[in-house]
Symmetry: C2
């Protein structure tokens, strides 16, 4: 965080009420302001879907690199991707926030603005939350979604032998952005890599992609949060199947190769183990859903659950929480 200008008060100075007022002003909702938020009447036959994700400064994001708006936007994408991955539509978010007393109120206003902008892309909104002092800046976001109709949600356990593995969105871009930021610092990352930096600091997932997949025959779905191999391995284990990826279908984009050459690393580490892209990985028995591409096949379970072109992947680690 840059030092705040003289006129910018800290959360310790304005207190709980001041913090809440700043957040609500930047992310307004008619549903906010009470002990709890009442959501819209759900559509007939719809069910509520809920997910939560805690982001800690220094572990899940860095205010050295990311703007306040990006931190807010990333927290929403990470949570809404879990709702989309069920085939549901995100409709609301809650924010529980811990912030040191020295945090500038303008920073939290920026976080709320980023949340408002990203939830707005989904026609969703921030409906409530909690604020407290604490040693570390922490955002604990809960996403609430609506699952329409009677079809089951796209859980991790319904992939079957013979189905296609499909993907929506870029894979490995967030990890490439992280590597560039780590090497150069935000100000000095060459401009041509801006999309990789954004993929790390404020990843996007096209709203409605998960609903489309569910409507067109997808069976299982997850988001690429812990790394391609790790996330597909979790899905494969839960479904009792294997997954074979076609290397040509996930080959690193030219931009990734260029960044990797500059940093003298193998771009396949980013593609296979990167995570945090929050793009969608699914299996389907039907046509490839609109916006997705085929990247592999569901196979019979084997000792090596996830293979690339039939071989053990070159890299297979992923995000570690502890």
């Amino acid at each position: 965080m840059n030092p705040p200008p003289e006129t910018d008060p800290t959360v310790g100075e304005v207190g709980e009420r001041g913090v809440i007022e700043a957040i609500v002003a930047a992310a307004p909702s008619t549903r906010n302001g009470d002990d709890a938020a009442v959501l819209l009447n759900a559509a007939p036959n719809s069910r509520a879907v809920v997910a939560t994700d805690m982001l800690i400064e220094g572990r899940h994001f860095s205010t050295t690199w990311s703007t306040a708006e990006e931190v807010g936007a990333k927290a929403i994408t990470a949570n809404f991707a879990d709702i989309e991955a069920m085939g549901a539509r995100p409709i609301a978010a809650l924010l529980a926030l811990s912030a040191p007393e020295s945090t500038p109120v303008s920073f939290l206003r920026g976080v709320a603005a980023g949340i408002a902008a990203r939830t707005g892309e989904y026609s969703a909104e921030l409906v409530g939350g909690d604020v407290t002092g604490g040693d570390t800046l922490i955002l604990s976001v809960t996403a609430i979604g609506s699952l329409g109709g009677n079809r089951p949600a796209l859980t991790l356990d319904a992939a079957r032998h013979g189905q296609q593995v499909v993907a929506h969105g870029n894979i490995g871009w967030s990890a490439a952005g992280f590597a560039l930021l780590n090497h150069f610092g935000r100000a000095d990352v060459p401009e041509r890599f801006a999309d990789l930096v954004t993929a790390h600091c404020a990843p996007t997932l096209t709203p409605g992609r998960g609903v489309v997949a569910r409507a067109t025959g997808a069976t299982s779905m997850t988001d690429n949060s812990d790394g391609l191999v790790v996330d597909l391995r979790t899905l494969a284990h839960r479904s009792g199947v294997g997954v074979d990826i076609d290397s040509a279908a996930i080959a690193p984009a030219a931009l990734l190769c260029e960044a990797a050459e500059l940093l003298s690393v193998d771009p396949w580490t980013w593609v296979l183990t990167g995570g945090e892209d929050h793009t969608l990985l699914a299996t389907t028995a039907g046509d490839t859903p609109s916006g997705f591409r085929t990247i592999g096949q569901v196979t019979r379970s084997d000792t090596v659950t996830v293979t690339v072109d039939g071989e053990a992947p070159a890299y297979d680690t992923g995000w570690v929480s502890f």
Copy 2:
């Protein structure tokens, strides 16, 4: 936290999967285990109600005093009270957890067991969450409730002049328990004050009390979380009214007086400013709801929003987040 026995692994040793397995074993739910949890089909005309509350060790709870089970139970009561205070029925909870690597897995198992026991009292369950390493033990709980029928929720802005102020549950008991723990330490608090200690470490709210209040004509409701005067002042401000409390109706119980005498403090500080009881305060235009007692009247707004017997209260501070 007591040092773990030799055979008790830490979260750093068992990793994310081990932590999740321990939590799910202690708080099982068929809805858990995916990217997000799908809740039951809501009843016709029902709406989802959501609330979140973050509890940080050293600020909101102390593992020096509280057992793991109590920490889990308190986190649920704090959140479910916000759902009850809307007149809704709690049906599910999510837990986002940050824990240092040195945390014994058995402690988290205890937290989950406390959550399972308390949610079970409401026929609710822990349906999902997130775990991450972090410097501090933090529980960020989200509660999801169901609001039946077409009547409005009991928001803070519907108290009107001439209505009764009613309360369910003890007031000031949590603060008294805190003072005793602070003075004696858990082991040495005299046994006769056990109910006060429990009121602080694992407060309870009778399930369904909020639903009853809504069904019998309550207009506004909140829970006693920040202190009696502060919580009623918030309600009064939001409704544009005043509140006059009858001192005889909130006079400290004999047990509170006994504890106060022992510690040489005025028990009215606990009653008027204590908070954290998570009992219910409501206004009603009808009969006193079952389980509630009348403690005052809604008055016309005045410069002093909350009065006791028509006078400014002797103590009027409350919980401060920053």
